[in-house]
Point group: C2
Chain length 688, copies 2
């Protein structure tokens, strides 16, 4: 029975990949624009490739060591799962990004025809990454589960934890290195370009301008893809494990999450066709239409699939009593509704139409310090609604599973289902997110190749502005889903021990548990602190290099000599790779140390500590950064004196502070929260 | 037996009060300086008095409602305890502050004679508040316990929880209102004075200058006194309650914390005599000598007292086996060592001699944004060592109590003892802290009355600079002790249910417990956000008023007309009082709501959630603010271009951001953490 579901999931994964490839071919076939445009796009392309290959080489070294350690101390099946997970994540990120860096050029060119065509190209460019992420992820779970089961049935599930850890490690590296890269280049380019030399953003005379464009791709596309690739796999795996430990190894419930995943890929593919402009030319609305269509289609399909599943697989067992098709639908609905809420909440805190951003803009009129104080206040406040969404989602799905009516176990599994349902939207979400760097680059290429002002103003700039919103909004989704995913992993951590007859008492009155909570709570603070600093240091390198080029290469400012773009790309690449290593290993080493020194209960408490402060800091940082960014844009539209006013200067300070907040430290919390949890799960056999 | 200890504690408390009164009389008798100086001091005195009386009237209204509610729903003994706690706290704050606002003037005058005399006056002025705090606190515990026991022996301990809640409520109001007042006045005065009008700090032409001076007293003296008054009482009460629930109602161990408190008052009084300048004129060293002397004396006395206590009271009971005099000494030592560590750690992160402050100063050279990024990074990193101190203190004392050897209960009591021992230093700590506003005001009065430049430069400015360090260092102590105190309260919360036969399972796998943790974790973020904003709003009122006076009153800038100081004082007072109400009620209402809606286990988890994020945010904010402040001072000493350089401007931005961080939101976390816990303890009878 389970075999049928696994094969179905594998086929859906393959369909996702196929759709991604076909879309990629379509994108590559589109018109490429003038030679000048192609030249710029090629430079971005080169830089992105150079960065990724360097990043992957470094990760390969670290990964090889970990692979051997897992093989020797834990299990070779898990070790090979680890390898597959890391490779799959890298492939999705690499291929997806190779298409966004081709889509950017073609989107610029399409802008000459119409807004509709440019939007179509930008979104399709992004959707390659989206569908590859979910397709590869689901296919690798299906294949590796089958392979592992054929080799050693007892280890089939444990092998999946190895798979999850592989993506985890890849995602923490990708998020950190991508995040440092993108902001070091951005801040560095702005500091010398805009502030010192007084030239506009994306000006081709700025030697750091290509590095800045590369950064958008490696941070927002490759980083986000790796992050969600991991959340997707890890959540499905954790929900499957919960299904196994709750209902027993023989129950088909363990494979139900795969069904949800498979259906959602199809729903997401159909959803991409709903992305089209209405009469009002409301771009964000077009993207939301695609998301809503995917969600509704998935929900309808969930219902019919549950009817079939419950009728066919569980007619005679007590498992059948766990859920009805309606409660399955409602539980999955909790995940979908949480996704919707997070979109609305993030938009409220980060877009120009609402109070928080307006308040920061107003505070800018009294100076730099009041801008920062207002921004910090908004960022702290923005944690409240998401916290209630997470709490609400947990309690609602637990209740739907009957957790409050004595069926605690089923309630836990229901939380896993809600998380899996939330994550099932990953394909379309990554598509919408990757749309951001495509349009951002398209606008940059247009600026650098001195494209027609009108086309830029009416087509590319509006597309780019929406890209900023989609980037912020999908970050909110990534964080909440990471939080839910980590909670499911934690639940599974406790269940694993129970399955071996050990009941863990995470009693808060036990000082070891308190110690674990404090150490866990501390990790995100320390980790965030390091990342904030790393951006500053890497940006400093860019500033010096740009200053050197302005000084030594005559004619740059007059436009008669070409800056050495490659030098800046190289400096940021090296800086980001160097800075990523220690912070990436922190969440891997901490659970091992705490587990062996303070014990398994302290480790469990540490997991919760990390989730709590990590979630709050991640939300604080990404929302705060987005709000600062848009407060600056609000003033640039003419409010409080517009550009060049004192208020604008203060707003630029806030925006610069917000950059590493929202694009480096904040998003890097997600993989960190999950890595800690999956490492803990991985070392359970050693703690037993 | 217990009666003897209670009487001893009462006598020690009375001795502390007597010493405070005698010192106050001595301070008041000292020379008062010129009429101009007296006039300024009188204005500060007036403003401070007006603020406190307005604050107390507001608290009285809120308190009256709560008093009646406690009486009706819980117990009238607890209600009267609440009244006594609030009154005692208010008295200590009021009287202590009335002496610091007299000590300031006399310190200015003493500066004419010698540094030694000025230091003596400033420290004695501060030590009135210190000794009154501990004296009144210990005396009120002793008296109210005896009274309550005479009326209803069963409720004697519960009445003490009411007493604790009274101080708690007072302290949350005092911290918030004082914190908003001090920073609104400071930021407001700086924004118009220094930045707009270009006049120096403490210039008598600035209409907000008196409000600024008043702020130092209401924030650092009255606010800190109320905060530590509460921590002191609540910790002793919680340790006594733990002693009762762990060893049984008849055990004398419940009264052992009172012995520690009593002895330490005497040790603190003796310690004050050790505050004297050495040959090297190292002022901070003189203060540390007093602290070290108090700590060592207390530790020695703890040992002999334990020998006597264990020999006399517990010869035949199994209680005697709980501790030996040596383990008592070591457990108390854990508290004293934690105090020492916190001093060193705070100094490392906030003083000019070390890396963190230097890094922020260096980052200021590249602008406002990099200063802020560096400061945020330092602030986040500064949470690490204190977290390990707290974890270490918990684990060490638990181990000393035999917690890891099967005696979990005694281990918990040992944590209470370590906390009580840490808090026993409160007297000398408040003395050192209150020294800060005295010297700050003394320097301000000297500036405003145009005192001899040389006396100011060689005596008052060095004294004032040390005051900044003592304020930062004692904040670190206040936070850590608040964290330990809250943990003891939490332990007692769980024990209370156990004493009624209900074992609470705070299992982290229970979604209600997770919900409690998240809601608890959220509170400090939301609370901090509101306080940051409140400072900005109140400061805005000051800015407008100062601008109005400059515009409407001719001759202010020429020094021919006097500004209306009282108007500014009035505006800040009203603003602070208005802004304090909702944030103060948040920690009172939240545990009640969570307790009744989500249940007692969710409430317990919420307590821990508040402690974790509250502790981290409090440390982050106070250390970060201190570091920003001193980075600015470092540049003012001539580094990176000195005053008026671009680096200095950036550093001023950081300092202004740090102001509400370190003096409003950060310190206000302490009472918040404790209030939530004590309210939970208070409503236990309703949750049973």
């Amino acid at each position: 029975m389970e075999q049928g579901i696994v094969i179905f999931a594998g086929i859906c994964g393959a369909v996702g990949i196929l759709y991604g490839i076909l879309t990629a071919i379509w994108v590559v076939k589109q018109e490429k624009g003038t030679p000048r445009m192609q030249e710029i796009a090629a430079a971005i392309h080169e830089g992105a490739k150079a960065f990724l290959s360097r990043e992957y080489r470094t990760v390969a070294l670290v990964g090889a060591v970990i692979f051997v350690l897992i093989g020797i101390f834990l299990s070779w099946l898990a070790a090979f799962g680890f390898l597959l997970g890391a490779t799959g994540s890298a492939t999705a990120g690499y291929v997806g990004m190779m298409i966004t860096v081709r889509g950017n050029l073609r989107t610029s060119q399409a802008a000459y025809t119409s807004l509709k065509n440019a939007l179509k190209l930008a979104f399709r460019g992004g959707s390659v990454a989206g569908l590859l992420v979910v397709g590869l992820a689901l296919l690798s779970i299906a294949i590796y589960y089958s392979v592992a089961k054929a080799i050693d049935p007892k280890q089939a599930f444990y092998a999946l934890i190895g798979l999850g850890f592989g993506c985890s490690l890849m995602s923490v590296f990708a998020r950190i290195a991508g995040g440092i890269y993108t902001k070091a280049a951005d801040v560095g380019a702005d500091l010398v370009g805009k502030v010192e030399a007084g030239i506009p953003e994306d000006d081709p005379r700025n030697p750091a301008v290509i590095a800045d464009q590369v950064g958008d791709n490696v941070g927002d596309c490759a980083g986000m893809a790796a992050d969600l690739y991991e959340t997707y796999i890890v959540t499905l795996v954790a929900a499957m494990l919960l299904g196994k430990t709750v209902f027993g190894a023989e129950s088909t419930w363990a494979f139900f999450p795969l069904l949800l995943g498979g259906i959602s890929i199809i729903a997401s593919i159909v959803g991409t066709f709903f992305v089209r402009l209405g009469a009002k030319q409301y771009i964000m609305g077009a993207l939301y239409k695609g998301l809503a269509a995917s969600g509704i289609l998935a929900a309808v399909a969930f219902y019919f699939v549950s009817v079939w599943f419950i009728g066919k697989f569980l007619p005679d067992s007590k498992d059948a009593l766990a859920f009805t098709p309606w409660t399955v639908l409602l539980t999955a609905g909790v995940g979908l509704v949480a996704t919707g809420f997070m979109m609305i909440i993030t938009e409220y805190f980060t877009s120009k139409g609402f109070g928080p951003v307006k308040m920061i803009a107003k505070a800018s009129t009294t100076g730099h310090a009041t801008n920062i104080i207002a921004g910090i206040s908004v960022s702290m406040r923005s944690t409240m609604p998401p916290a209630f969404v997470v709490v609400g989602a947990i309690l609602a799905s637990y209740a739907l599973g009957g957790g409050f009516a004595g069926k605690e176990d089923v309630g836990l599994f229901a939380i896993g289902l809600a998380a899996a349902s939330m994550l099932s939207m990953t394909g379309i979400i990554v598509a919408i997110d990757s749309y951001g760097p495509v349009t951002d680059n398209a606008a940059g290429i247009a600026e650098m190749s001195q494209m027609d002002e009108k086309v830029r103003g009416t087509v590319l700039d509006p597309l780019d502005a929406v890209g900023n919103t989609t980037k912020a909004v999908t970050k909110g989704y990534a964080i909440t889903s990471a939080g839910l995913c980590a909670l499911v992993l934690f639940a599974e951590y406790a269940r694993e021990f129970l399955a071996h007859g050990i009941e863990l008492h995470f009693k808060l009155s036990n000082p070891l548990v308190l110690a674990g909570l404090f150490i866990g709570g501390l990790l995100p603070f320390y980790y965030g602190s390091r990342l904030m600093l790393a951006v500053g240091e890497a940006a400093g390198g860019v500033v010096e290099e740009v200053r050197r080029q302005f000084r030594e290469i005559a004619g740059i400012m007059e436009g008669t000599a070409k800056p050495q773009y490659g030098q800046c790309v190289d400096i940021v690449t090296k800086g980001a790779i160097k800075a990523m290593i220690i912070p990436s290993l922190l969440p891997v080493a901490s659970p091992i140390l705490v587990g062996f020194i303070l014990g398994k209960e302290a480790l469990g408490a540490m997991l919760i500590g990390v989730i709590i402060t990590g979630l709050f800091l991640a939300i604080q940082m990404t929302s705060g950064g987005g709000a600062w960014d848009n407060a600056k844009k609000f003033i640039e539209e003419g409010m409080y004196g517009g550009k060049k006013s004192d208020a604008h200067k203060a707003a630029v300070t806030g925006d610069t502070v917000g950059d590493p907040y929202k694009d480096t430290a904040g998003p890097a919390m997600n993989p960190m929260i999950k890595v800690v949890n999956i490492v803990a799960l991985l070392i359970v056999p050693l703690l037993l």
